[in-house]
Symmetry: C2
Subunit: 224 residues, 2 copies
């Protein structure tokens, strides 16, 4: 059996940006897969068996291979199914794609989450910090359709699942605009480009359902 043949299963959760980006890659590559929704926070025995260390979605199962963690899964998918490449081949460009993906998951997401949980003063500081971080990304997408260049790639999937289709909706629910168009014209252009891609739209959560969900999460975590 060729490396890219066989059965693909994805354990995910509709509200998880980490699951969303894996579906984006599978759809972009045209890989047929079975999707198993995890009703978090009640983790299925299958999830605990497949990912005993982290106990988290997403988990990709390809034949007898079990892969946790979205960045690893995206790289595995890209190396195994080489059509519609999502990572650059050049070692330096590849390193930079990994750098920005990590920056988004570690820095943007963390500060975005802080804007949710802190009291007003801390929230303002978190939003200010988020804008400072967005300024780095604004430069990255300047004069490009996508982070990856002309076509959607690794950083677009990571950033897309976190920024427009997670944090921006959270901030919409909180009635604050953290990425205003006049301050971040290039990021807003990039968001529009993403929304134009059908395989992207198919993977993102329903807007109102997600805002409602995030407002509930926000209430649960809000600190004094």
């Amino acid at each position: 059996m060729a490396e890219n043949e066989g059965k693909v299963k994805l354990l995910g959760c509709w509200a998880s940006p980490f699951s969303r980006r894996v579906e984006m890659a599978l759809k972009l590559k045209g890989i047929p897969y079975e999707y198993l929704e995890e009703a978090l926070p009640n983790k299925s025995p299958l999830l605990l068996e497949l990912n005993p260390i982290h106990k988290k979605v997403p988990v990709l199962v390809h034949n007898d291979k079990i892969l946790p963690e979205s960045h690893l899964i995206l790289e595995y998918i890209d190396q195994t199914w080489s059509n519609n490449p999502i990572l650059p081949q050049d070692p330096y460009e590849k390193a930079m794609a990994r750098f920005w993906a990590k920056f988004i998951d570690e820095q943007i997401l963390t500060v975005g989450f802080r804007s949710l949980v802190r009291a007003e003063k801390g929230r303002e500081a978190a939003i200010e910090e988020a804008r400072e971080k967005f300024a780095f990304l604004e430069k990255e997408v300047t004069r490009k359709n996508f982070f990856g260049g002309k076509t959607i790639g690794f950083v677009d999937m990571v950033a897309g699942s976190i920024i427009p289709f997670c944090l921006a909706r959270l901030w919409e629910g909180m009635r604050i605009d953290v990425i205003p168009e006049d301050e971040f014209p290039e990021l807003n252009r990039w968001i529009k480009n993403l929304k134009d891609i059908e395989s992207m739209r198919e993977c993102i959560p329903h807007r109102e359902k997600q805002i409602e969900h995030m407002m509930k999460v926000s209430e649960r975590y809000k600190l004094a």
Copy 2:
């Protein structure tokens, strides 16, 4: 100029396991490089210029290319200089190498650091948790010379810089044995294998100097 030609510079710090592992890879590949020691916590203007986002060592400069973050640097080195490969070629094995490297940097290092900073009761809990995590690694190296198999690879460099040549020395300074030989025979065998490799020994900090340094760090961070 071929991709793997030209000048290589490394900005590092003797006490940083993240710098140590990059030197390991450079030595293993036989890549000539200039080493610039950063006298942390006073960061040089060059470091701040080259790594404006994270402001951290290590930074690798290869001709006009600037690479921060040890995992990205190791992958870049391996793709650019293909002799003595450190990452497997197979997509699944590669994903697993990345998985364990991340596990060590995120889970083992975090819990190790917690064993340092917490008061006695919390410290015991952190050590217990560290042992639970080491049990996963004990399985990984069973019947293998190295994490990568017969020869030293990516996970060995990441794990080597953190476990025997950082945390174990810290615990030695605290007079506790978190990885006793009878409980973790395979991990201890792996540590001995690492110590036998000359290019590894050349990259690790001087033992007494490091223990003294870590005990100072420990005093600074100790919590009530």
